[in-house]
């Protein structure tokens, strides 16, 4: 069994706190690994040349995988937190073999329910937002 991470409690969190950034692995090898388990093996995800020929800037990361990166970032920050809801808007493609950065910030807190709300983004190397979203997370007392 893997090592258990340090728990984060509601009392540890403050309004405006920024989550530790996550730089996800969007190498072609990882995209293909994701594709193998989800069936998302379409050329737009796995073939740069064909994607470019179709007018895309390159092969793109599946949107659901970007949502998964944001969940992973939340769990890295709050390993025992429970994501009640996560909403993502795929504004523009995240490119395979690029270096995106996932970020999050606490935007609301409810002391009674120990629920926090987060604003989320996935940005590219130029700092452009490619995916944005929100999450509702229940934290431990």
């Amino acid at each position: 069994m893997s090592e258990t991470k340090q728990a984060l409690t509601y009392a540890d969190v403050g309004f405006g706190d920024e989550l530790p950034e996550l730089c996800p692995d969007v190498s072609m090898a990882m995209i293909k690994r994701f594709g193998a388990t989800t069936g998302m093996t379409y050329w737009r995800f796995t073939d740069h040349e064909r994607a470019r020929a179709s007018g895309l800037p390159g092969a793109i990361v599946p949107g659901i995988m970007s949502q998964g990166f944001l969940s992973a970032m939340i769990h890295n920050w709050a390993p025992n937190g429970r994501i009640v809801k996560i909403d993502t808007i795929f504004r523009a493609p995240v490119l395979v073999d690029s270096e995106p950065v996932c970020r999050g910030v606490v935007t609301d807190m409810n002391d009674e329910t120990r629920i926090v709300e987060l604003d989320l983004t996935v940005c590219n190397e130029e700092g452009e937002t490619r995916v944005l979203g929100t999450a509702v997370v229940e934290l431990q007392a």
Binding site: S2, E3, K5, I64, H75, N76, I83, V84, I89
Partner: protein, 143 residues
């Protein structure tokens, strides 16, 4: 057809149902490829091993829209996905996903009018417990 008419006629009823068997390796591979490191999502030996929150968003039904839906969605684009977690999905579960159109609405932006179609999949386990709701927004530009 007006958006309000579309909404009245096509929302709120199930047009597709499909079931999925949940396997441990599939859960851990999904989580690991998304960068999860928390054992309850990555390690099948963890006593609380379960699907990562976005896991259900990977599933598709047999069709995205009801038969004879009167809008050509070939030129639509993906407006995003929302996952609402209700209960843990674990290896060995049989999950049934039922699809319906949850909402149809119109918005006007800088580039003109757009119609949003919210496709909802509700996932229940073999005990008929609701485990997840996934909303997929499809966006169609209006002429």
């Amino acid at each position: 057809m007006e958006v309000s008419e579309l909404k009245e006629k096509w929302t709120g009823w199930t047009f597709d149902e499909v079931s999925f068997e949940i396997e441990a390796e599939d859960l851990s591979e999904f989580a690991l490829s998304c960068g999860e490191t928390v054992p309850r999502y990555t390690d099948a030996q963890d006593p609380d091993f379960q699907a990562a929150p976005s896991y259900t968003a990977r599933f598709h039904g047999r069709r995205a829209l009801p038969k004879d839906f009167p809008v050509d969605m070939a030129t639509s684009f993906d407006g995003g996905k929302t996952v609402e977690w209700k209960a843990a999905i674990r290896p060995g579960d049989t999950v049934v996903a039922r699809s319906h159109i949850h909402d149809i609405f119109e918005k006007t932006g800088r580039s003109g009018g757009m119609m949003f179609i919210v496709h909802r999949m509700e996932f229940s386990n073999q005990r008929d417990e609701l485990v997840a709701i996934v909303d997929w927004k499809m966006i169609q530009k209006l002429a």
